[in-house]
């Protein structure tokens, strides 16, 4: 299945010095009209990928196709992309209106049409009353919206965003995320969004690509990434607090942590196979404590009440874990960790890859 505005990377390399690859053998298809998130820690190469799409970085090897056309040597101005920069890149000496219209002026759009488009975009982002202000007279959130307006009026089939929310405070971010989704719905461009914030990725994205050390770790829907992480990196990167990963031995169909053992259900035994050591992962919200009747003894190290939930840090054997519980939960003595087998993930100890799931 391929749409008219797909972006396809085929064996793409990027190197600045000709020796070390920042991006190595990247193969990625960004489907037309979708909100695709490039997510990863800083330095993972996600911004470089975005800038290669924009044409602001030259491609050192491989091919990049946009809308079926090879664009390796196409000038940024001819790629028909709109971009929102991390620092917004608003022209400081131009008013909001002029900032939005400047691109259209260059493209020789007639004045009446320019004004119409500008008013339309300003209206969508509730900025109409600010159109004669200079960027420095606006708040961070307003500037960010002006940058969105400027990208919006281009009506480009590709909409690139480079960490557009990273300079906003937490409250504004929540509002801005919803705004981004709304903007995408306006004309459904191919939306490529770079962020290191997993919540942005999960809420804005229709598909997420997770990168680490220039390598794609996993791609999929937010749901897939959250519920079936491909490896330990993805498992720990997505979710807050992050997934608990414990090392355990396997002996005679039993999972052994410290001196305690829990029998592994048959369906899982097939997946674990004859491994002697595994890592199992369990999300903080899936942890259940039972008095006496659980699988592993725990030792609570500290608790934090966040108001809406209770965070409990505890140890099992030598592993440090975190649980998020109901804020009214009463921590009794003799509590034991009860493994919920339908919420658990197993990873290979060496490759750190997900071993898979039993048929449910």
């Amino acid at each position: 299945m391929s749409g008219e505005n797909d972006i396809v990377f085929e064996h793409v390399y990027k190197s600045y010095d000709g020796k070390n690859n920042v991006i190595a053998d990247l193969n990625l298809t960004i489907p037309s009209g979708q909100r695709m998130i490039l997510l990863g820690p800083s330095g993972c190469g996600k911004s470089t990928i975005l800038r290669m799409i924009a044409g602001l970085e030259k491609i050192s090897g491989g091919d990049l196709y946009m809308g079926g056309k090879r664009v390796n040597d196409v000038d940024p101005g001819d790629r028909n992309v709109a971009m929102v920069f991390q620092n917004y890149a608003l022209y400081p000496h131009m008013t909001v209106k002029r900032n939005i219209q400047f691109g259209m002026e260059i493209a020789k759009v007639p004045k009446a049409e320019r004004d119409k488009q500008t008013d339309w975009a300003l209206d969508i982002l509730n900025l109409s009353e600010y159109k004669n202000r200079l960027p420095r007279q606006l708040s961070g959130g307003q500037r960010q919206r002006v940058a969105l307006c400027r990208a919006l009026v281009k009506k480009a089939p590709y909409f690139l965003l480079d960490e557009p929310l990273s300079n906003l405070d937490a409250q504004l971010r929540t509002a801005a995320r919803a705004e981004l989704v709304r903007i995408h719905e306006v004309y459904q461009p191919t939306f490529i969004y770079v962020t290191h914030d997993q919540i942005e990725a999960m809420t804005v994205g229709q598909r997420i690509v997770i990168l680490d050390k220039s390598i794609i770790q996993q791609q999929g829907t937010p749901d897939e990434i959250y519920n079936q992480p491909a490896n330990v990196f993805v498992a720990k990167f997505i979710g807050s607090p992050c997934m608990n990963i414990c090392k355990a031995n396997v002996e005679n169909g039993k999972l052994i942590v410290g001196d305690e053992a829990a029998p592994i259900p048959e369906a899982w035994q097939k997946i674990v196979g004859d491994r002697k050591v595994v890592r199992f992962g369990i999300r903080p919200e899936h942890i259940e404590f039972l008095p006496d009747d659980g699988d592993f003894s725990i030792k609570v190290t500290y608790t934090e009440n966040h108001g809406n939930l209770l965070c409990v840090a505890f140890t099992v054997g030598e592993n440090n874990l975190m649980a998020t519980l109901d804020p009214f939960y009463v921590l009794q003595d003799n509590l034991k960790l009860k493994i919920k087998w339908d919420k658990i993930h197993f990873f290979d100890d060496e490759t750190e890859l997900n071993l898979g799931y039993p048929e449910r």
Binding site: A54, G55, L56, D75, P76, G77, D78, R79, V81, A82, M83, F85, Q86, N87, A89, L90, Y91, P92, H93, F102, G103, I106, A107, L134, P135, R136, R143, R150, K154
Partner: protein
Amino acid sequence: MKINARTIKRGGGQIFWHLIIILTVCIFLYPLLYMFFSSFKELKDIFTAGVRLLPKKWIDTNYSSVFNKLDVPRLLFNSLVIAGLTMTVKMLTSILAAYGLVFIPNRHSSKIFYFFVVTMFVPFSVIMLPNYLTLTKLNLINTLIGVVLPQLADATAIFRIRQAMRCVPISLIEAARLDKVPHMTCLRKIVLPLVRPAVVSMAIFLFVNSWNEYFWPLLILRSNELQTITLATKYFSGTEGSTGWGNVMALASISIALPLILYLFAQRTIISTFMSSGIKE
């Protein structure tokens, strides 16, 4: 200014720094005032022992004789042509070079830049003779163009404007590239407005430098109708101590009037651009 802002909270320190500033201003102002007041003094008054700023008797004959003996408008015009042309073309070449170095970089940009910088260290006396010989061959001795031609590019100006342009966030230029903005438009509408303080101050600096130049025009210009206002001072310098200092001071006062007025006007722009520049945003 920075020193002031920092010490403003400590009352005593503020007075101290103000005194230093006032003293500095006096040191810089004294020769100018001396020149100005001496242009209204009689010759014997100028040579009176002791430091006395104001004339004993105010006379205006120094000025009238300057205007009688010399074609002052002509001298001003020649100076204006040379300084104006030198400044304009130097600014043009420097701005274009700096833009290219900063925003259209290639593998050799830094080498080219360092080559420019090296030329800053070549003293005028070294290139004076080759330039003179070249102009002779081009038949440009004793022409205004001859004065201007060898100074149409300036490494210092390129250096200074390049530094200013490097402060323009690169993302602004990238945003422009994505909108297919041609380089000349990008330079005119985005970069120049943002580096205006640097450009204006550089332009004034170049203009005044060229206006005050004495030696090079002296070498090139021979005929009377091509003399500049600065060169004209030699008209009143006699060989045996018979220099008409009053006249020289009057001429000098006339000569600095134009750059001074220009500066006062431009200063307002410089300050207002400083205050409204939003480069950091």
